[in-house]
């Protein structure tokens, strides 16, 4: 597996230093979309069959597979619920955020 790159917030002083298109500008380092969430996915490992469907379907790449288990990245997960919808064993449930 390819290691995630270490990306820092980038501010270019001039267009001359910039790539030709919006490519790896590091914007997600400060655009932490988890703050948008009002329901959060929680994984019940007792029902999880480690199929990886949640990982595949997450539109924001916010589910990683760690030691064969799904691991939600709550810094970026917007709480869309697609993982819970697609989970074949319904081991993912969406829980109200309390703020």
């Amino acid at each position: 597996m390819i290691r995630k790159k270490d990306v820092k917030k980038i501010v270019f002083a001039s267009e001359k230093e910039m790539p030709v298109t919006a490519m790896s500008l590091g914007s997600m380092l400060y655009n932490k979309t988890g703050a948008w969430r009002n329901i959060r996915p929680e994984v019940d490992r007792s029902k999880c069959i480690q199929c990886g469907i949640c990982w595949k379907f997450c539109p924001d790449a916010s589910i990683d597979i760690v030691d064969n288990w799904p691991a939600v990245d709550y810094v970026y997960c917007k709480g869309c619920g697609i993982c819970a919808e697609e989970c074949p064993t319904k081991c993912i449930v969406m829980v109200e955020e309390e703020k």
């Binding site: 030709v20 298109t21 790896s24």
Partner: protein
């Protein structure tokens, strides 16, 4: 090898000779034969490409963008409503700097439903950041596809190769189909400076804050400004290899012309006939046909028009509430310039009504009877 082929197949042969690697398209009259032939070529092995069938033109362009980002030479074709449905993705192609080449068959926009030629479909995409070439013969269509790939891939800007519905798309002409080895010499494999690959992961087209977006658009404009010179350069290379010059414009009898028709597309061929007939009557007429519409070849147009006494622009299109679109563009090129001739604007042939040599002679008579235009739109052929 010379073949008698329709304009649509000239696009297909162009895409084949360019060794397109991915073609994603949805059929629409009058474009259908373009992708029909390409799908046959993919099926029988003539062309080693992936043909992706999709459910709409929006998806066709989306598939092209993914393929292009992964480093594949990518081709598609559409027309009218299909092009309009692609509109959002046209911005993604240019902003993403993905050098897709697309054939567009100029077809009038509905309603009422029309399958016949006018230019409002492609001209409605004027500001999407695509290079636009308007062709006047099937040979020019094939040659321009090869040139478009070369220009697009060098500058990472997509290109639209535009031809008239039926007048070119379904009309058979003799076309010299270049030798594959010569084409390979002219157009090497697409080697983008970056691409979507697991070996070098990048986040593409993500959120771009106000501190960076403006500069990216500045860069697109600066590269657009390089297109005219590159078209000239690749046109000269093309002539050296294939014997046919490809330019920004096609000037016919313009050197000593006092009265210039300014045209685009197949109507530019018709204008040549009118120029010959007017010359036989002793009128010093010429036809200045614009091939490259975006970016607009300002310098060349200023230089050519300055020599004429009068210019009449023919538009097979209309910006409702304004004027013919080529007329607007030409006026914008001449504004503030010294010593420019009066420019007359005429609209003809909307929805596929024929544009004849007689129409050009009517334009000549109308414009030569006045010192300056007394209306912004001279209507040719409207029953009123």
């Amino acid at each position: 090898m010379k073949k008698v082929i329709m304009g649509n197949h000239a696009l297909s042969y162009g895409a084949m000779l360019a060794r397109s690697q991915v073609i994603a398209a949805y059929p629409i009259t009058p474009q259908t034969q373009v992708v029909e032939l390409l799908s046959e070529m993919c099926a029988d092995g003539t062309l080693d490409a992936k043909f992706i069938k999709v459910e709409s033109e929006h998806s066709a362009m989306a598939a092209c963008l993914g393929a292009s980002l992964a480093g594949a030479r990518t081709f598609t074709a559409t027309s009218a409503q299909g092009l309009a449905l692609m509109h959002e993705l046209l911005h993604w192609a240019s902003g993403g700097r993905l050098p897709v080449v697309m054939g567009n068959i100029n077809r009038a926009m509905a309603p009422g439903w029309s399958i016949w030629a006018d230019q409002n479909d492609s001209l409605s995409q004027r500001d999407t950041g695509w290079i636009q070439f308007y062709c006047a013969s099937n040979q020019e269509v094939l040659d321009t596809v090869l040139q478009a790939f070369k220009v697009s891939e060098k500058l990472l800007i997509p290109s639209m190769v535009v031809l008239d519905a039926f007048t070119l798309s379904h009309t058979y002409e003799v076309v010299d189909i270049p030798d594959q080895a010569l084409v390979d010499g002219f157009l090497p494999r697409f080697a983008p400076p970056y691409k979507l690959t697991p070996a070098d992961p990048h986040a593409f087209f993500g959120l771009t804050a106000p501190e960076h977006y403006f500069e990216l658009r500045y860069k697109l404009q600066k590269d657009m400004e390089k297109v005219p010179d590159l078209v000239e350069e690749t046109g000269r290379d093309y002539e050296r290899i294939f014997g046919r010059h490809l330019g920004l414009v096609d000037a016919y009898m313009c050197d000593d012309a006092e009265f210039l028709f300014l045209t685009s597309g197949a109507a530019g061929s018709t204008a040549r006939v009118a120029v010959d007939e007017l010359r036989a009557e002793g009128v010093k007429a010429g036809n200045f046909r614009i091939i490259l519409f975006r970016p607009f070849p300002f310098a060349l147009i200023r230089k050519a028009l300055k020599k004429a006494k009068k210019v009449a622009v023919l538009d097979r299109n209309l910006s409702y509430g304004h004027h013919g679109i080529f007329y607007q563009e030409v006026k914008s090129a001449l504004y503030g310039q010294d010593g420019m001739p009066p420019v007359f604007g005429y609209v003809a042939g909307l929805g596929g009504r024929d544009i004849t040599p007689g129409d050009f002679k009517e334009i000549y008579r109308s414009a030569s009877s006045k010192d300056r235009p007394d209306e912004e739109i001279g209507w040719i052929g409207v029953k009123r």
